[in-house]
Amino acid sequence: MLLLGWIWGLLFAPQDAVQGNSYRIIFLHVPSVIFAELIYFFMAVCALMHLVWRVKLAAYLIKSAAPIGAMITFIGLFSGSIWGIPTWGTWWQWDARITSTLILFIMYLGVLTLHGSFSNLEKADRLMSILVIIGVVNIPIIKKSVDWWSTLHQPASISVSGSSSIDPSMLYPLLISIIGLGFTLISLGILSSRSYILSREKNKKWVLMHV
């Protein structure tokens, strides 16, 4: 599905009037930035579940989602800055949205480092959840910052309610890319959380049965 969206986007979609062909990066850039935020939200929900109801699984999910989030945020930042070279003439701008995405990346790294630095894993789980919940304040700032400071970024191109400022011939491949990347990341998440859960619960009976 991801492949379909990309092939459609790369090969068949028309040129953008202003930006020329370089806009084709959008099919990687926009989905990855969307998921960079979504994964963090997911982690925050898990963190809440872990802290309030003491669901162990939630902490495992955070731990396995964080590297994926860091990866996809990195891809988003990277593709964005490459896209910036032909369009804005600069690869980096201290623009609010880029900055807050960078902060998001740092948050992911912080979560991972925090978890990695404790020998008592249950303690690490709880502290990590606290950090994740505090960090979720960051996401509205990313969203709002576009309005607070006038920036280079075009405002969000796809709106749920009706009129989109993007042509269907570009919109469809973009949507398909988003969904496709979603599935890709979910399968990746399942894989890595499986290995993590197995390694954490290695003393339990069901794990032995499973293997």
Binding site: E122, N203, K204
Partner: protein
């Protein structure tokens, strides 16, 4: 009078069980000596009783909410950039402070009372930490390895103080590798974790 009851405590860390289904009671006027090899969970058990660490399973029941507990842990909880006098002033006020100063004399620390605690020897620091515990008026003493690093004279002083405390109807729990000279029930956690 019952002070605490420990019911079916299980504690595991990173899926390793330290102890399993442990139950006992702590009464006032009684001592309990917890024995066991290195890493058998003595200190952890004390911390669970204190409520600092929460057990994986089981229940700690306290029968008196206003129970005054003094605790000596592995860590001395004294500030090594302050002098012994300043340390005590930070912790005590009023009559307790006088009691603390008396202990300072009894333990023979009065000649170093104005030096920085960091420059004191291990045993002297341990004595200072003991004073922090001994000068509190408390109903239950929980001491983690109180005899380590003490000379014979101080150990004797500590023993007689603890005996006196028990006769005054206070409770006592301590971990130690050497047997204290006090009437104590003994709880043995075994050589190592099974």
């Amino acid at each position: 009078m019952k002070l605490f009851s420990v019911q079916n405590i299980t504690y595991s860390i990173n899926e390793n069980k330290l102890f399993h289904n442990l139950s006992f009671e702590i009464n006032s006027g009684e001592g309990l000596h917890i024995k066991g090899g290195n890493g058998s969970g003595k200190s952890t058990l004390l911390r669970i009783i204190l409520g600092i660490t929460s057990p994986s399973k089981g229940l700690i029941q306290s029968y008196d909410q206003d129970l005054k507990i003094s605790y000596l842990g592995h860590k001395n909880a004294i500030k090594n950039y302050l002098t012994p006098i300043e340390n005590l002033e930070l912790l005590f006020s009023g009559d307790d402070l006088n009691v603390a100063f008396e202990w300072l004399n009894k333990f023979g620390l009065s000649h170093v009372q104005d030096e920085l605690t960091a420059s004191l020897s291990f045993g002297q620091q341990k004595k200072l930490a003991l004073i922090r515990v001994l000068a509190q008026s408390s109903d239950l003493l929980i001491l983690d390895e109180p005899f380590v690093g003490l000379d014979q004279a101080t150990a004797d002083q500590l023993n007689s103080f603890l005996a006196q405390k028990i006769s005054q109807n206070a409770g006592l729990i301590l971990t130690s590798h050497i047997t204290p000279m006090i009437d104590c029930a003994v709880l043995d956690l075994g050589a190592k974790n099974a």
